[in-house]
Every structure is written in structure tokens, then in C-alpha cells.
Symmetry: D2
Subunit: 342 residues, 4 copies
């Protein structure tokens, strides 16, 4: 059994890790930390886990965590970079769900995240945990930077086009809609049901932290200069991301075949039949990305619809997928579920 | 492998059976019927099942169904009673999620359901599929009448009190709130999001079809005459039932201990710690009933809070639980999941 | 023009007062206070008010407020009782939407609200602002204690029964469901959309602060000892309260006629036709209470369904109704609107 | 008093007309028709209107309607074109909320709406009822074609750019999100709360009927050939449309000033301060369009956020605005309200 620790177990990605790992046949969760709730049974805070989890929240002490084969960080940005060096030195692997190791350019990271980076020496080693792009590197990695939720949906939708040089990389548009759980389990006015319910809005149009991450990911796939307009929106539901992606075709191509071939061996990317519309409810609670490809009225504008559950393929499920790869387990282990519909 | 058939696979209890059985290690779904969609791949209608279900909807022909070890009926009321005799005669077991065999008194059934009963000879044999009450009978049964969603939540909440003669059976109140999926996948005005969303209402206060079923179930537990006021409500969410139950205590008793003992061996009934409030989100997608017991201000009024997912413990999950019992499988097989929170 | 001030203009009852008063032909809002947002234009915080409100948040200074004919307190509990004596002494009338003056028994108030009362000398004078009970006293009052949202829905539903001695006052049940705006515009985890959305739960079953207020109001209507079980619930919508009320009839009576007669001259209480179900959407944004009366299966249990918009008839609308009475205006002025459906 | 008739009073735009006109000081609703509900009191179907509307649904007979000064058609497409000629001949004005007279090119209309046009001779005369573009023509018109909901939000957002030749008209993107009331009060599976709730999806990406209408409206503002990609989405809320619009700037310009000047005299178009995000909740129930203008990271891509309430500025409110203009009333009469927030 793999001994797993979870740092920051009280947020939504933390409890989602607990949900997934509780049923993973090869993993035993041996530490769940929370400064605020140390000493409390996990299932007292999360009654959904009663009978499935005997853990008690502990303080995030390195001693205890170093005893784990792998430590997941489901923490706010700026935490993993403090502790990861120690854990890696003691032989634990680290899977970071925060943004600490996602951006390769330190200055860029520091600009967007507003703090100095505490472990710049690890950035080069950290592997960006998108298996559909980096599978081999993930298998060998000690330190994984799990992609953000928006970046996962956008990259899976645009990469097949960029990898094949089919669209104008300089003029990409990502209009993306997220459920409110993406804002985390934080007491903020803007996440109140009275504020976010029955309403729809864009936010951070001037610049969202996921922009440089997406740009970096797309840039790797093309030699052209990537130009991306990314507009995130808040939609009144709990789980789910729907990316609507626009790009200009440079040549004629069978888009449906292109996407099907690109993802034919991917268990967690499902290209829907031609003419389909992707619907977030069909991936709710599952680790799957569903993609639909359109070219309306035969114009040269491609429209890609890409949906994920932000807490699963956009966070904790993808983290477990990476863990499976790192430990030589079947990639789908513990992740073969069916979305909860309706 | 158990060969299972599903009649009426296009409704919410049908697709929920498919979701559960797709991951059940001992079951193979060999027939899914739908008159309207015969010939269509199931995963075309339900993209959440892509990759998990290769079935194609077929016509509900007895020949094909009789080839199954067990046939689930996820049909409107009045269908199972037409076909069950044939299937039973040919050796298939039948698990009915509709109301056809729930009421023992034929005249009562015919009054509430507004049609003559087509198979009254089977009513006595049919076993009411509430394992927490009828486990042994279910193990031996050929024909199961699965309890309704409201009746499941109400009975599990009130039975411990009635079985021990602790409350006035003549004055029970069940104020119950259901998510809209309880109305099924039917194109009706009252189930539109524009009608049911952002609103709350009672309905069928004069008399709901689940009233005689609940009364029958409660009456079995007591020799007193049961008097029950049952008020169902529609709450603006998709899944979940919350029953708030009121009864007058006849004597002092440790209610918390009473409930804990009654359900100590039940895998799917979870008595919450004293002082808790049950929350439907904590059972969403799971087969569990969570119960909290209160006696506000020390008065003689007991308040029981009982929550289930109406499509799981209130329908398809409970049906699979019964199937496990009927085929000698571990009762939790295929049902050990964690609720989808948030 | 009546000069009105609003203390605590940044909460939901504050902005609702602004919405209503912006269109009231006899009122000019001359002060809106907020410690946190002093100096900010009101319509910067609430863009819904752009073009309808030129006010700027100011500090809650008595000098400025004393210049108003009437001051509404849309503040947390414990604030009005500090400032009201001063304002009354200077000739302003005070309408308090908080709980400071609702309970006549000071000790009881201090027990439930957990603080000493700062102005006990004003409690006797304060008029409980439920016009359907206290119209004449409201007309003469200097200080109004506006009823809570739950108490409004429950009292309007039960009073006709108690006033006529028709039910057992010792065994009343109020099962009440509230939208999340009732919790106010406060950054609390339990009000997040990810927590409160798609879920239903009871809370404060052991004792909610509105219990003594409801009990006091009901007790005034009967010489019998009132016994009340009050269970509040949170339902996943923004606005609306639905009270389902249960009582035991002591004698036969035409309930429909009783309610219609009781409220025949009330502009804001609407008794629905026999057989109706009240629906919160039909009062959304309006100052109306709609009531439906049932006696299921002819038993001796009366079931009353009573709905209001918690922010209007349950708070700010009722406050303006009281203001109209205090200043000799038509009771409906500024309140004649149609609910926003769908 | 203007005598107004409403044909098709049972749909959402019909009941919204009733809500608005009930409080309009210059209008008396003298006929409300419904084939299915003829003979029924309107407030029986819509209890929100109790006390505000004494009308009874009648059959849609021309005799009765011709007695009105103005007749609103809140009907499915294909109805107005049958009856309008008769009513116009008898001197009534006609305001059509359906699509019958929106498209000037008959062949184009017939292609998208799948039926022959019954009154092609009236198409040239019909005035497209967008006051911000056609105010003078509306004042003189007998027959108004009210814009669709999507077209209203998109045109108001893009016209200032096109009218001034500032963007590449050949590459416009409109990513638009609508609440579910846009689908009308029709019993369709896709509008069920269990289907549309807690989920997000695009639909009709291959081509939506509002595409030619939007294209026509934009084309009028520019001599360049308009190229538009329009992707409508369904978002899990009842009311509201949020258009996110993308265009490429051809020259540098002060976008904020441009929009403010274009709409400075428009009562119902509100350009938000620079840096704002538009939020559908801030226009819920009001006739206002709120617009925010962005140019992220100083690139040449303009992002316009444009929000309306689809049932008000997107339908019934805009229809009443047109009526005010046609009858020489103040344009805001009956429409000066504040959005219902929260």
C-alpha cells in the first residue's frame, strides 16, 4: 500500500482527494493536516466520509509527512514551496495542487502571485502534471505541479490544433465558465449563494493568474508566438468548467478525425461524436474531459467545447492520475467512475 | 456474473441503475429496454456512460428479458404488474422500482393509483424491499417491491420509535422535502427550472400516493392505530430528500442510544452524533440514510431528521442492495461509495 | 417629503430598503451609513441602484441621522439599542429591523442574544411592527421593532386559529424553510453556494433566536399556554420563506372562511383559494404573504402554508409599511408591486 | 388610457408584459388571449398577479383584439404574421415579440424558421424595435418587430465599435450565455431543472435562429462585410443574458469614452465605469442593459461584457419601451424600476 499524506485537507480539493483515495485499492491515507482543525476527526468536518475515513487532522509537521510515500499539497499558493525541499530530501514524492511550481519563469511567477519564490531551484525539476502531454516525465518525477482547472480544460481543447500548426496561434480566444467551487472553501462575499446564485458574470478580465500558465502550455506546442485572450466567468453551479475556445483555421482539415486520433489512447479525454455539445453534468464527479469540435457555417473559425469537473480532472482526480503514473499503477486505478447524472 | 435487465432505462432511476451496475463486479447488464429509443446506443442518450456501457436500447420483449437472472423495472406505475408473472414463471427474479406491488391491500392500491391491478395474485408474495426491516424475506424473494423515496426516508426515521412503543402513533407528522429529480425525467411544466428553481412549495397536501405506503409500513411496527399527516414539498435542488419527523414521546428514553442500537449493524443507515443536523449533500450519490435525533428544549416532542438521495437509497441503490441480498452477495457490493461533496 | 436615514446600508435588508425607497414618492433618503464603506458611492457597491440613488455612504453619526424624520436600522443585533435613545430624544422616529426591541422580557432577550440590553427603558414603548396585529399602535409609535422573517410567516399563519381558540395551543409545530439571503450579507462558510447550493438541511433545532419572539406573538392571542416546536431549515434558493404549520383542531370550523375573514381588509395578506398550494416564487420581491389552508383527509390536523419574501414582508417591505402608517401615508404606498415570476 | 391586448398571455413574455403593464399608469389591459386557457382567470394561472389583474383569458378573436389601441403578440413564431394584417387594417398597432418580422430578407427568414411567410408585404414596413438604433422610426410605426434577447445584448455591445469602423467587422465573436427562461414556458426535457440545473453547455453551435438577425443588425452599421461567430450557451439560472463579445481593434481609441458618448442619452443602456464587470443580477427584473468595456493586457482584442434581463430588455420591457415611443409617452414610463438584488 502506498502511504499518502494530504496537506491542507479542509479545502475542496483536499476533501475531494479523500473521497477518491478512500476507494483507491492501493493507497492508505496516513496523514491529513490542518492547522485550524488539528485534533478533529476528518469525518466530523465532512460527514460524507463517515465510515470511509478514520483519519484525524494533524498539524502539518514534516516528521509525520516524511513518513509518507507521497504527499499531496491541497494548500493555498505559497505553502508547498516552503516544505517540498525537505520532503523530497527525505524521499517522499510531492504532488502539488497549488500553483507554486506551474510556471517555469520565476519572475513571471512572482509577478502574478505577488511573492518571492521560496524554492526556485526546484522549478526546473518540477513536472507539469498533465498526463496527456507529459506522461513519461510524470512517471519519472519526484515533484509534480498539477495544472490549474482552467488550464486543463483550455489546453486539452487547443493543443491538437497547435501541435499540428493548423490555426493562427497569435489570435486565440478562451471564453471559460467555472462553477463556484473553483473559488475554494473560503468565506468570501463573492462566493455566497446570495451573490453567485442566479447570476452570471465575467471576472478578472484584465488578467487572471491562469493566463501565464495557459500561455506557457500552449507555447510549448508551437513555434509561433501565442496570443491568447482568456476571459474567466463564474456560473451559478457548484462543479464544472466549460471552455469555449475560438481559433482561426489556416488550412482545411478533418477536425473530428484530428481530435479523435490525438486522444485515441487517452482514458480520460473523450472526443464526442461530430455535432455534439459537451455538457458539464456529464463529467460531474468524474476524471474525464469531454470535447466537442465545431466549425460553424463552414467558416474558418473553429469552436472547441471542452468540459471537466474542476475538482476532479481539474484538480484532485488529475493528481491521483499522476500518482498512479509515478508509482507504476494502472493509470485509471481508483478513477474509473461514472459521472453523477442527473 | 449475474445477468441483469433493466426495463425503462431512459428515466432517472434507469440511468442510475446503469451508473451503479456499470461498476458492480458481479453484474453484467444484458438488456436495457425503451420503446421510444429502441435501437439507440445507451451512451448516445447518456454521454456520462460513454466507455462504461456498450448497451443498445431494445424493445421490452419478454423473450429477451427472460434470459436475465434478474430484471429491474424502472417503469411508470402499471407496467411491472403486466410482465412480472411471465418473467417469474420463466425463472427470472423481478425487482420493481415502481409502486405496483408496494401496497398489500388491493382496493387501497387501486384507489390511489386509479387503475385495476393486473396481477393481484402476486401481491402477497411480493416482498417490500426495505432491507432494514425485511432482510431475511428479501434474501428468499423472487419479487421485490422497492419502497418509494419518501417512504424510505420516513420509515427509517420513525420505525425505532414505533417498534418500541415510545410515541403516540396516532399523531405523527412527516414534513418532507424532495429535490426535483423525484418527479422523474418527464417533460412537465412544473419541473421546469424556471418553475421549480428559486422557489419552494408544498404539493399534494390533500393526499399523496406515498401516504398509504408509509402508513402501511409504520402500522406493521405497532399495534396502535397509526395517524399520519404527510406533507411533501418540492425544494430547488436536483437530488435529495430531507424528512423532518415529529412525534410525541410517551415516556422518557435515551433517544440517541435507541437509534444507534437499532441501526448498529446497518451499513446504509448512519445515526449522526447527538446534536447533529443531517444535510442532503452528505448523501448525494450514495446509498446511505443519515439520521439525526433531537428533542428541542427538552419538550416531549421528538424531532427526527432523516436524509437520503432519492435516486439511490430512495430507488436504484436500494434496488441493488436488494439484488445483492437475493443473490447471496455482500450487501454493500457495488454500493461502497462516498457522497459527492461539494 | 419624508427624510429617511438608513443605518447599516450595506447588508441585504439595507439595500432592499434602498430599492423600495428609491421608488417611494414621499420619501427622500438623506443618509445611508456604513462604517466600512464610508465615502463610497452606494451605487458603486450596488450597481443595481445606478441612476436611482446618488447617496454616498457616511459614518453613522447621530448628528447627521438626527436630521432625518425617520431612521431605519438595518444593523446587526445590539446596535439600535445604543443609538435609538439619542435619536428619539432629538425627535426622529426609529424603525428597527434588528431584534433589539422585539422581546418584551429583558431577561429572555439577554439569554437568547447573549448580551446585556443597553436600553431596557425603551422596551415597553417599542411597538412590534406587525400591522396585521398592531396597526393602531404602529400609527402612534416613535419606535418600531420590526418582526423577524420567520416570526412574520409563522404568526400570520397561526394567529387566526389561536385568536379564535380553535386549536390546541400547547402543541403547535412550525416547520419553516428559508432561502439563504436570510443569513445576511456575511462572509460565512455555511452560506457559500458550494455549501448551501443543491442541499437541504435543518439548523438550530435545539433553539433558534426567533423561537421566543414567535412564542411571545402567539401567546398574546390566547390564554392557553403556548407550546411550540420550531424547526428552521435552509433551502437552496436566495429569497423566500415557506412555513408549514401544524395544529390540532379542537372543533369543526370552516377554516377557509375563517382565514378569508381575518384578512379581508389586509392588503398584504392574501388567502389563496381552497385547495391551493402557496409558492414562494409568487411573492418574490413583493410585500405580500400568501396563505393556503388545508385539512388533509379530513383529520383533526390543520396544515397552514404561509409564504413571504424574507427581505420584503419579512424585513424591509414590512418596515416601509410601518413607516407609511407612522406618517399617515396610504399603507400600500411604494409597496404596490408584482412579484418577479419566473 | 391606452387599451392594450396581449395575444399568448400564458408564456413568460406574456406574464412579464402583464407584470409591467399592471403598474403602467397609462395602460389598461383589455384582452389577454390563450386558446388553451380561455375562460380561466389570469391570476388563477399566475397567483403573483392576484389583486393586480382582473382579466380572464379569452380566445384570440380579431373582433375583440381590434378594439385595442395596441396588441402585443407574445406568441410562438408564425402566429403574428397571420393576424397582424387584419389588426393593422382595423387601426390597431401591433408589437410583435416573436420573430415574424425581424428579418428583412424573406428567403432568409423562411430558411431559418422553416415555413413560408404569410405576410411578406408587411416586412418592409415593420420597424425593428431597438430604440437605441431606431427611435424615430419606432415613434412613427404601426408594426414593431421586437428584437430577440440575444440580438439585443449583442447589438448594444458591438454597435458603437462598428458604427465607428474601429474593429475588423469580418471577425466578430459573440459568446453568449442565457438563463433557462429564454426557452420559454414549454414542457421540454432540456429545460427541466434536473437537466439544466447545475450544468452548463453550449447549444446550436452549428447555427441559431438569432444569428441572421444579429448579422443583419450589425451589417446596417458598417459597409464592411460582417463575419460573426455566435455561440449561445445555457447557464443554470432563470433570468439573464450575458454576452461576452470579442473584436479586433483596427486603431487605438478611448473605448470607455466611445461607449459613454454613444449611450449618454439612453435611459436603458448603462455603461459601467472602466474596470467593471457586468453582472446579470444587477439588471434582474429591470429594463436596463449594463455594459463593461475591456482591452485585456493592452492587446488589440476588445472584450465587451453586455448584460440584460432576457424577459425585460430582451423582450417585454423593450416592447413596452417601444409602445411608450409609439404613443408619445415618456420613454421610461412604467419601466423605472430597480433590479431585484440579491
Amino acid at each position: 500500500m502506498i502511504r499518502a499524506g494530504i496537506v491542507g485537507g479542509t479545502g475542496y480539493t483536499g476533501v475531494e482527494l479523500l473521497r477518491i483515495l478512500a476507494l483507491h485499492p492501493e493507497v492508505e491515507v496516513t496523514a491529513v493536516t490542518s492547522r485550524a482543525d488539528a485534533g478533529l476527526r476528518v469525518d466530523k468536518l465532512y460527514p460524507s466520509l463517515r465510515g470511509m475515513c478514520d483519519a484525524v487532522f494533524s498539524l502539518p509537521e514534516v516528521e509525520r509527512l516524511a513518513d509518507c510515500d507521497v504527499v499531496f499539497f491541497a494548500t493555498p499558493n505559497g505553502t508547498t514551496m516552503q516544505t517540498a525541499p525537505d520532503l523530497l530530501a527525505r524521499g517522499s514524492k510531492v504532488i502539488d495542487l497549488s500553483a507554486d511550481f506551474r510556471i517555469k519563469d520565476v519572475a513571471e511567477w512572482e509577478k502574478w502571485y505577488g511573492m518571492p519564490h521560496a524554492s526556485p531551484q526546484l522549478i526546473a525539476e518540477a513536472v507539469y502534471g498533465l498526463p496527456e502531454v507529459n506522461r513519461l516525465a510524470i512517471q519519472e518525477a519526484r515533484l509534480i505541479a498539477c495544472p490549474g482547472c482552467y488550464p486543463t480544460a483550455v489546453q486539452l481543447g487547443l493543443l491538437p490544433l497547435l501541435e499540428n500548426g493548423l490555426v493562427d496561434a497569435g489570435y486565440l480566444i478562451a471564453d471559460v465558465k467555472s462553477g463556484v467551487s473553483g473559488a475554494g472553501r473560503k468565506a468570501e462575499l463573492s462566493s455566497l449563494m446570495s451573490e453567485a446564485g442566479e447570476s452570471f458574470k465575467a471576472y478578472a478580465v484584465a488578467g487572471h493568474r491562469h493566463l501565464p500558465e495557459i500561455r506557457q502550455g500552449l507555447q510549448r506546442a508551437t513555434s509561433e508566438q501565442v496570443g491568447l485572450t482568456f476571459v474567466p466567468h463564474l456560473t451559478p453551479m457548484i462543479r464544472g468548467i466549460h471552455a469555449t475556445l475560438y481559433a482561426r483555421l489556416k488550412q482545411d482539415v478533418d477536425l473530428q478525425a484530428l481530435f479523435e486520433q490525438r486522444y485515441q489512447n487517452e482514458a480520460f479525454v473523450d472526443v464526442l461524436p461530430a455535432g455534439s455539445h459537451a455538457d458539464t453534468r456529464n463529467v460531474r464527479g468524474s476524471n474525464r474531459c469531454q470535447i466537442a469540435v465545431h466549425r460553424p457555417q463552414g467558416s474558418d473559425t473553429v469552436v472547441i467545447l471542452s468540459v471537466i469537473d474542476n475538482l476532479v480532472k481539474g484538480a484532485s482526480g488529475q493528481a491521483v492520475q499522476a500518482m498512479n503514473l509515478m508509482f507504476g499503477l494502472p493509470e485509471q486505478q481508483g478513477l474509473r467512475t461514472v459521472a453523477l447524472y442527473p
